[in-house]
């Protein structure tokens, strides 16, 4: 089933496009009014982010509209880009080369292939069970023991965060919910709430942010930004309940879970960046950093939302 025939999906995308037009207009006005040097830098970064949002929204909309396969391919590519950023920062060595080849060229495509053939059972355990063993054994065969646990655990983490967790977003497409057949809307709901939450937390943080949540890990994340952004994003989620199988109250609750998990994901990925001594995972998306910087919230939110929906809404 493609998204072309679904009016609710079209309305969601139209809503996002209207938002982007408004954001672009606001960005232009701010750029005119910015007087001081730091203000100009902030606005320039903001406008770079908005421009990147246009590209990301268009790419995502096209992928969703093609129905299942486009979304699966898009998220597989996102996993690939995220994993490459993750592994680049990881303390892997020459001896881990084969392990990494397995991860990139077998485990990652297989995980998304399992979604394409709707094999949920193996999808849910392939990485936590088989890839877990494979990575450890492959590193043993390579025969280097110094920092063995660190090197092996890093690849495990990379696969879990960048592949396993992210793959739960397109896996929403294979959930069988009685009386609800347009699963692409669930995917849009998840991505919309996660990203709106990121944006609103950024906005609330810039406007009202005072008390940092975890100053050592991420000085930019404040209680004001987090609570304001998460609450506002959850209200947005509740407001688009009509696109989901949820009643408004449930849509709100789901959105709260998504924003909480997303916030946790952002903090954890920041901690890893601090540990490796970098600010961003990459330079892929202008103003945003790398792929992993953009989808850090999604990494944690996707599996949580997937399993909440699966537990409560599938037989």
């Amino acid at each position: 089933m493609t998204g072309f025939s679904d009016p609710a999906l079209s309305r969601l995308v139209a809503g996002v496009l209207v938002l982007l037009v408004v954001a672009t207009a606001v960005g232009l006005v701010l750029a005119r009014r910015a007087r001081t040097e730091p203000a100009r830098a902030t606005v320039a970064n903001l406008n770079a982010r908005i421009r990147a949002w246009w590209v990301m929204v268009v790419v995502f909309a096209i992928a969703v509209w093609t129905g299942g396969i486009g979304s699966i391919v898009l998220f597989a590519l996102m996993s690939l880009l995220a994993l490459r950023e993750f592994v680049t920062l990881a303390p892997t060595r020459r001896e881990d080369h084969r392990t990494l080849l397995w991860s990139f060229f077998v485990v990652l495509p297989l995980q998304y292939y399992l979604i394409a053939i709707r094999w949920y059972g193996l999808f849910a355990i392939m990485i936590p069970v088989y890839a877990f063993v494979l990575v450890a054994v492959s590193n043993v065969i390579a025969g280097r023991t110094d920092r063995f646990l660190e090197r092996t655990a890093t690849v495990h983490w990379g696969l879990m965060v960048c592949v396993y967790c992210v793959s739960h977003a397109p896996a929403l497409l294979i959930l069988e919910i009685p009386g609800f057949r347009t699963n692409a809307r669930l995917l849009v709901f998840l991505v919309l709430v996660v990203q709106i939450s990121d944006v609103l937390q950024y906005v609330f943080g810039k406007l009202f942010g005072k008390r940092p949540v975890a100053p050592v890990i991420s000085p930019n994340k404040t209680w004001e930004g987090f609570l304001g952004g998460a609450l506002a994003a959850s209200l947005v989620g509740a407001a688009i309940w009509w696109a989901t199988p949820f009643r408004p109250g449930v849509a709100f609750g789901m959105s709260v879970a998504i924003t909480l998990a997303g916030f946790a994901g952002g903090l954890v990925m920041s901690a890893i960046k601090r540990d490796r001594g970098v600010k961003d995972y990459g330079v892929l998306i202008a103003g945003h950093g790398g792929m992993l910087d953009r989808i850090d919230s999604l990494c944690f939110a996707a599996p949580v939302f997937f399993h909440l929906t699966r537990y409560f809404f599938t037989p």
């Binding site: 690939l80 490459r84 950023e85 680049t88 020459r94 080369h97 060229f105 990459g282 330079v283």
Partner: protein
């Protein structure tokens, strides 16, 4: 055509972000010299040059390696117009078998092949290293500067290539890398060979520490 396809492929695989400390290289004749850890090094460095400069930049590579198979010969001669040189081979007791006279001839040939227009890419370590540290430079760089007074040398640091495609591996892991171009340098008046080679090596190493 094939060259730019290969360059794009190498850029894609190596996810290279490019930094120029100075202005981006122009079409002036230069020697780009870099650390060497991977088969990807030359193509990625080449692809990091501005498009109008690339056709003028040729790799200098070992004849023994690049004439081994028809494919390698084709790539070296037809695609990248490589300047192939005879590397010193080491006998079992570690003695270099290439005489000083032969080495001199190699540099003479190199200078002639470059002419007044072509730039070159060289890896003065002579062979691929492990990526841990940069090996001492061979003296060809110095002799070439003597041969062509005033020649500008641009140090380049290639980061992470050895993790993407280490020595002895066939398939690359698509990690991210960096190509950092430093400021041009030249052989100073009266500079000795060891001092110059060490300065050149330090220039590459410093780019890696940025």
């Amino acid at each position: 055509m094939i060259a730019s396809i290969l360059a794009s492929a190498a850029r894609l695989v190596s996810g290279a972000s490019v930094f120029y400390l100075d202005e981006p290289p122009d079409e002036a004749q230069r020697v780009y010299f870099a650390n060497h850890t991977s088969h990807l090094d030359f193509v990625v460095l080449w692809s990091a040059l501005p498009e109008n400069v690339r056709p003028l930049v040729r790799p200098v590579a070992g004849r023994d390696y690049w004439e081994k198979s028809a494919l390698r010969r084709y790539l070296a001669q037809k695609v990248f117009h490589a300047i192939l040189i005879d590397r010193s081979r080491h006998t079992e007791d570690g003695e270099s078998t290439l005489s000083i006279a032969a080495a001199r001839r190699t540099i003479d040939r190199l200078a002639i092949d470059m002419g007044e227009r072509d730039s070159i890419i060289v890896f003065p370590e002579g062979t691929r290293g492990s990526g841990q540290q940069i090996a001492p430079f061979k003296s060809g760089l110095y002799h070439l500067c003597r041969e062509k007074p005033g020649l500008e040398l641009v140090p380049v640091y290639l980061d992470n290539m050895n993790r993407i495609l280490p020595k002895g591996e066939l398939l690359p892991v698509p990690m991210l890398s960096r190509v950092v171009f430093g400021r041009p340098m030249r052989l100073e008046e009266g500079e000795t060979k060891p001092a110059f080679l060490e300065r050149a090596r330090a220039a590459v190493r410093e780019l890696g520490e940025l």
